[in-house]
Assembly symmetry: C2
Homo-oligomer: 321 residues x 2
C-alpha cells in the first residue's frame, strides 16, 4: 500500500521544493521518495512513487493536481463523442520518468527488498475521467456506463491497453511485482462489475509479463471478492471492512491475500495497534500467502512511530509462528 | 427508503417557502411532504418526513443545516469532557413536531398504506456529532472510539436511549413500522462494529414497542451483515453492493430483507430499470419476506417518471408470481 506521503517529514521537506506533479516527473526525486520509507520503517518492499492518473495525461482531458483537492479533469469524458475525441496514449513518451525512477530505485535497492510497481485499474481511472475528479457516489460514471455501454467499453479498452503497457514497462525497468488499484470499484453492484469492469481488469492482468506476481486491490469490495478473483491476480487485496479469514475463504485459499488493517487504527495507541496486528495474523492462521498490509494508504495525520511499531510488531509476531 | 425530496417538483415548490429545518418543524408541511409521493408514485408505504439529526438538537452542539453542505455541527464531540458537557435530550420537548406530523399523516392515510417511521442508528448519528458533519473516512469518529472507548460508549448510550424513545413516540403517534438507518456503518471493520456499535443498536431495537416491525439498514455492509443481523431487526436492509440472493443467504432466510436497486440505476432507461428490477425479484425467488426497495435514497437528479416506472414494474412483476 502507498507508504510514502505527507506523514513523513522527509516527504514534506521535498514537497516544499516540488509540486506533486514535479515530484512524479523527476526521476531523482521520485526515487528518493520511494526509498524514504525503507530505512525509516523497515518494510519488506518498496512501493514506486507515482500517481495512477499519470498515464491519462496524453488523452488531452486537462488533468491537474490542485492543492488540497486532488486531481481535477478540466474536460470530463461523458459521451461517445468525448471518447472518440481522446488522443492516443503512447506510454513510452507519456511516462518515461516513471520507468527511469524504477530503474534508479532498483539500482539503489540492490536486491535488499523488492520494488513493487502499480497502476490504477481501468474502472478507477475511468471514474476520475468521467467524474472530473474524486467522487462520492459515482453518479456520472454509472450513468455513462448505463447510457452508452459501447462507448464505456471503448474507453476501458483504451485504458486497459495503456495500463498493461505501463505495468510491463515498469517490469522492464526492474519492478518485481505489480499492484492494480481498483480503489473505487466498491461503489458498484456485483452485476455491474461483471458486465462493465471485469473483462477489462482481466485484460490488464492477462497481459502482464509472465511470472510477475500481480496484486489486485480495491476497497469496499466485500460483495465483489469472488468476481475480483475471477478477474485475476495472484494476490487479492482486502480492505478492513471484511474480516481477513472471511475474505480469504471467499476468494479461496488457492490465491494469496493482502491486508487488512484499517489505516485509522494507526492513530490508536501502540498497544492497540499491536492487538489488532496480532488479530489479523491470527486470522491468517500462519497459512502461506498472507501479505500483511494496511487496507488502504497511510493517512497524513499518522504518527511515523506508530507505522514503525506496526512493522516491528508484524515482524516479531510472524517470526514466532 | 427516503422517497420525498428534490427530485419531486412539488417538494421543490415547498422548499421555496420553507428551509429544510422549517419543513421538518412544521407538522402541516412535513405531513404534506410525507404524502406527496404516495399518489404520485403509487408506493406501498409512506415514509415520515424528518431528519435523523433532529433529536440531537437539545445536546447543544450547534446543529445547522447549511444550504448545499448538509448538516454542520459547530461544536463537534471529540472527548470525554465533550460528552460530559452534553445537555440531556428530552424527546417529547425536542421533537413534538415529528410526532404531530406522524399523527396528521396517519389520519390522512386512513389505513390506505402504512406509515413508516425512522431514526438514525447510534453510530451514524454519533459520526455526525464527532466529525462535525458528513465524512468520507470517519477518521475522527474512529480515533475517538479507539482513544476513549468509555466516553464513546457513554455517547452511544445517550443516543440509543433517546432514539428508542423517539421511535416509540413515533409508534404512539401512528407509525406502523420503523426503520433504523445506520447509513455510514459500512466504514467499520467487523470487529469494531461488534465492540463499538452492535450493543447500542441492539439496545435500540430491543426497546421498540413489541409487535412493531423493525427494518435495520446500512450501506457498504457486505462484510457486516451477520453482525447487523445479530444486532436485530425483522428486516435487514441491503444496499446494491451485494447481490440480493447472496445477502439474504448471509443474513439467513429466517429474517426478511429489503432492497436493493442502486439509486443511480433510476437514471438509466425505463427498459434497463425494468431489467434490473426483474433481476432483483428473480433473486428474491418469490420467497415471502422481500421488501423491494432502493439500496439508498432517491437521487436529486432522478426523473420522476422513472421512479413511477419502477414502482409499476415491481407491482406488475410481483403480481405475476
Amino acid at each position: 500500500m502507498r507508504q510514502a506521503g505527507r506523514y513523513l517529514p522527509e516527504y514534506r521537506a521535498l514537497r516544499e521544493r516540488f509540486s506533486f506533479l514535479e515530484l512524479c516527473r523527476n526521476p531523482d526525486a521520485a526515487a528518493e521518495v520511494t526509498l524514504q520509507p525503507i530505512e525509516r520503517l523497515g518494510v519488506d518492499g518498496a512501493i514506486l512513487f507515482a500517481d495512477i492518473l499519470l498515464i491519462v495525461e496524453p488523452l488531452g482531458v486537462g488533468l491537474e493536481f490542485s492543492r488540497g483537492e486532488g486531481p481535477v479533469i478540466a474536460r470530463p469524458v461523458r459521451s461517445a463523442a468525448h471518447v472518440a475525441a481522446l488522443s492516443p496514449i503512447d506510454v513510452e513518451t507519456a511516462v518515461p520518468f516513471v520507468f527511469e525512477a524504477a530503474r534508479r530505485v532498483t539500482r539503489a535497492l540492490g536486491g535488499r527488498v523488492p520494488l513493487i510497481g502499480f497502476a490504477g485499474a481501468p474502472f478507477t481511472v475511468a471514474s476520475y475521467l468521467v467524474e472530473g475528479g474524486a467522487s462520492r457516489d459515482f453518479v456520472e460514471t454509472k450513468r455513462f456506463m448505463y447510457a452508452e455501454p459501447e462507448a464505456w467499453h471503448r474507453l476501458l479498452n483504451i485504458l486497459s491497453t495503456a495500463t498493461a503497457r505501463y505495468l510491463n514497462g515498469q517490469i522492464a525497468a526492474g519492478v518485481a511485482m505489480v499492484q492494480i488499484f481498483d480503489s473505487w470499484v466498491g461503489a458498484l453492484a456485483p452485476d455491474d462489475y461483471r458486465a462493465y469492469v471485469l473483462p477489462h481488469t482481466r485484460d490488464v492482468i492477462k497481459a502482464i509479463s509472465p511470472g510477475v506476481p500481480v496484486i489486485h486491490f480495491g476497497t469496499g469490495t466485500a460483495g465483489l471478492l469472488p468476481l475480483m478473483r475471477e478477474a485475476g491476480g495472484d494476490v487479492i487485496g482486502l480492505d478492513w471492512r471484511v474480516a481477513l479469514d472471511d475474505g480469504w475463504r471467499t476468494v479461496g485459499h488457492d490465491v494469496a491475500v493482502q491486508g487488512n488493517l484499517d489505516p485509522v487504527a494507526l492513530l490508536a495507541s501502540p498497544a492497540e495497534i499491536r492487538r489488532r496486528a496480532a488479530d489479523i495474523l491470527e486470522r491468517a492462521g500462519g497459512r502461506p500467502g498472507h501479505v500483511f498490509n494496511l487496507g488502504h494508504g497511510v493517512l497524513q495525520q499518522t504518527p511515523v512511530d506508530h507505522v514503525r511499531a506496526l512493522v516491528d510488531t508484524v515482524h516479531e509476531l510472524s517470526a514466532r509462528r
